[in-house]
Symmetry: D2
Amino acid sequence: MSVVLGPNRYGKAEVRCVRVSKHGERHEISDLNVTSLLSGDMEAVHYKGDNANILPTDTQKNTVYAFAGEGVGEIEHFALRLARHFVDDLEPISHARVEISEYPWARLAADGHPHPYAFMREGSYERTCLVHYDNGSTSVVSGITNLGLLKTTESEFWGYINDPYTTLQETRDRIFATLVTAQWLHTEEVDWGRSFAEAKRLLLETFARHYSLSVQQTMYEMGKALIEAQPEIAEVRLSLPNKHHFVVDLSPFGQENENVVFHADDRPYGLIQATISRDDAPAPGVAFD
Amino acid sequence: MSVVLGPNRYGKAEVRCVRVSKHGERHEISDLNVTSLLSGDMEAVHYKGDNANILPTDTQKNTVYAFAGEGVGEIEHFALRLARHFVDDLEPISHARVEISEYPWARLAADGHPHPYAFMREGSYERTCLVHYDNGSTSVVSGITNLGLLKTTESEFWGYINDPYTTLQETRDRIFATLVTAQWLHTEEVDWGRSFAEAKRLLLETFARHYSLSVQQTMYEMGKALIEAQPEIAEVRLSLPNKHHFVVDLSPFGQENENVVFHADDRPYGLIQATISRDDAPAPGVAFD
Amino acid sequence: MSVVLGPNRYGKAEVRCVRVSKHGERHEISDLNVTSLLSGDMEAVHYKGDNANILPTDTQKNTVYAFAGEGVGEIEHFALRLARHFVDDLEPISHARVEISEYPWARLAADGHPHPYAFMREGSYERTCLVHYDNGSTSVVSGITNLGLLKTTESEFWGYINDPYTTLQETRDRIFATLVTAQWLHTEEVDWGRSFAEAKRLLLETFARHYSLSVQQTMYEMGKALIEAQPEIAEVRLSLPNKHHFVVDLSPFGQENENVVFHADDRPYGLIQATISRDDAPAPGVAFD
Amino acid sequence: MSVVLGPNRYGKAEVRCVRVSKHGERHEISDLNVTSLLSGDMEAVHYKGDNANILPTDTQKNTVYAFAGEGVGEIEHFALRLARHFVDDLEPISHARVEISEYPWARLAADGHPHPYAFMREGSYERTCLVHYDNGSTSVVSGITNLGLLKTTESEFWGYINDPYTTLQETRDRIFATLVTAQWLHTEEVDWGRSFAEAKRLLLETFARHYSLSVQQTMYEMGKALIEAQPEIAEVRLSLPNKHHFVVDLSPFGQENENVVFHADDRPYGLIQATISRDDAPAPGVAFD
């Protein structure tokens, strides 16, 4: 028996890079959280502490800032530029994984006009992307996370398994509250900004319109809507916590509670996850890892 | 020498109460986090473990839900109803402190119209209030917290003390990023919803318009704007972290960085706090405690 | 009417300063989180953005590191050195508030001996101090926070007020779980390290020994124990969340639950706070603010 | 083209179950966070909202509590019992994934003896396990997370790639601070408690003893030590953030800083991950997913 090194990777996590673009008086802002993880011929560093093949994580951080100096653009494009550089320009690196979260900011108003350079943190969600690049093979996954959605009705839950541990009552009307994480794999490069805006709009609209018999059903419809609208999307992965809102029993206080007063609980929560694909989609490989 | 009990209070913290109001198909939502703290004749419980004067924190929680059953309305009004009940209806309780945070939700759109019962978490800020009620004496403080604001220019910082520990370079152009917490004391009951909307608008607008020579100066202007616009506001307290965005030195990579690439740092951060008042305002007493 | 500036302060929050002391091969570590807040003649900076009286928060950070270069010692001593410097050496500063948290590390073992320079994060609690210095007037508050304690029995709760919102059942046996924050005011300088160790030991021992009829009673005993053991302690402030552990109803599954299976809930939680003093203690002034 | 359902799972996350075992006056405590995720024939629920094959996440929660009523024991054993029940007793469920974190508590002392039922939260780490069960095929992964370790010397970093984005200086002496997450796959059932204690001891001891030329090298040695000591361990996965402690430049203040004053930074941080295996280990399948 001997002990061997298996898959490994290393990099710099959570580089908080803010890039301002100035077009005369009007400024744009990209507020990013960038993580790069590299792999390659890494036996010597693990077995002997020989760093000859190591691009220090500090250098990876510098690279993020230096590339941002030349402009950021859409996060998918920025991630691709970084990933290609790490693999193409550095001989010992054969695989790069670059993950970016972008925090959205909304322009403030002044005198009824959008302000040229004052912003307010918009929403609680983040736009995300995950790029893998491995000697010519590229994958791009776009996404959104921490997207808080809530519907006060049109959600049912009944007809489920009844076993000796069942105590839940069936319901024809409940609150449906969740914090969506969605990721979608592209088969080719697209207009990333337009694609994201369209995907976000469809996630919101499908959630709003869909009459839900289960979280799974709504989640599937959300993924399906993305795939049907954009032929370049091969696969969608969704993770929806079911953030429970329990109807409070007000009968001890002489009140009926007709689904109007709820306790919003923290833990435990339901966790519902699925992959939704085109039937002719290629295998995703490591794209989502 | 003997050991004596001093000021004390107890209650239920963070009751997560969600109230839906249904007007036909159209629903409204109040998403609240309520904390009640009570004081009174509490010597026996501390000295002897005699709970005869204790309203259990579980009962305080029930009270929040039962009162929500009768409607919530503006959070200041809801806090007042709760505080008055605890003191007026329960003999051993002489003082109630009720604090509420409200999480805002924005209506989703469907078919170009606001959806009647589907919502998205709006912004990352919370609307707050803090009410004290003590045998007829009442104070109401309204507020906002976690309000993320950022300006990419029109912020300077120079002319400060130079001492043996100074290394900071003066700047005529920096990012000004903060997470505002503001609280304001009312001298009388007002239209709480309108007052809040107006105060929030002024905080945003003042931040956007003000050319900043120091965080203190901008903060003072924000507080002053609130007081000047609403005669019922006696005092404003503001706390502004200075979330540092450092210009990254790109010269080792052959680039100039003309205030476009920044490292957004987590800690340490500046912390700037002040009270701004009408000169004829009454002493705030415990209102902000 | 005019708008005026009231109490204000500013400084650098959460300077994460780690100081290693090397005595030959044996190293000691001080892992600190330091916040300094200064006050003084600050009208010009608020009214006009004139920074002439401002010691930049960046300089405050530098001062922490420079002073740490000369050694840290007990955190109370380090906070006093910093506070006195800010007020005594900088003319516009009349008041300094320095707050420090220290994260404890335990020495790892190797070959059965304590290792000279390898450590493991010990416990989840932090040692704290809060110093105010105002032209010769000094206060020192020591403390501990995030101290997780739990007792599986010897905690009762009954005999409380019964009102129309009461549903809680009385209990003669419950879990008592809390996360203690304690702070104590010294009337004179003491051996800070010894005083802290003794205070921590008494908090733990009193919690363990005391048969609890209410959280208030146990909390009072904990404060009293500190005051009785150390004549230099004038006042203790305690804040004990009651982290609820609910007995799960297992009867639907044919089991009795004799206080053995619990749901540990996050929110809401009870919150119990009190001040315990010597009867001859001086007024604490701003010591705890 | 049509849209199809791919891999999916659902369950209850973060059931906070506390189990007390009472042996006369002496109590033991198991403080658990349990997540179960189930898979099976789930097409109908996603395509049509037909819940006939769904075991509600509420029932999964009940099952955790009911099984805890019969005793918990080592977390691996408890997870196996749950996983086997879900798959063996519920026809539509073909795969169960059960993940448990256990929070350690240390017995308090009283009169110099360990107290029978009073405890203090011990350390900041958690013991973990992850079990997959799929119609007779079982995997058990044990682990530890949030294990804070720090070494003030015996860590070097030099000899790495120098590229146009390199600015880092080589060092022969730095702080090595990390928050270890380790997971190890067993090939057969063992004495889980003894195995964990041995694994934890070896992680600590290897960290303490190893002279580090890179985080990768130390991490590899930690994994190797586990495999060499326990023949039933087939594979170890380690994730070590490099929590940077930067030497503060004190030269502007006339001091040399010989590796004694550090700024502990939050973000970005290094992230170093690897798999270490026996050369004859079977493929891990989904064990770590």
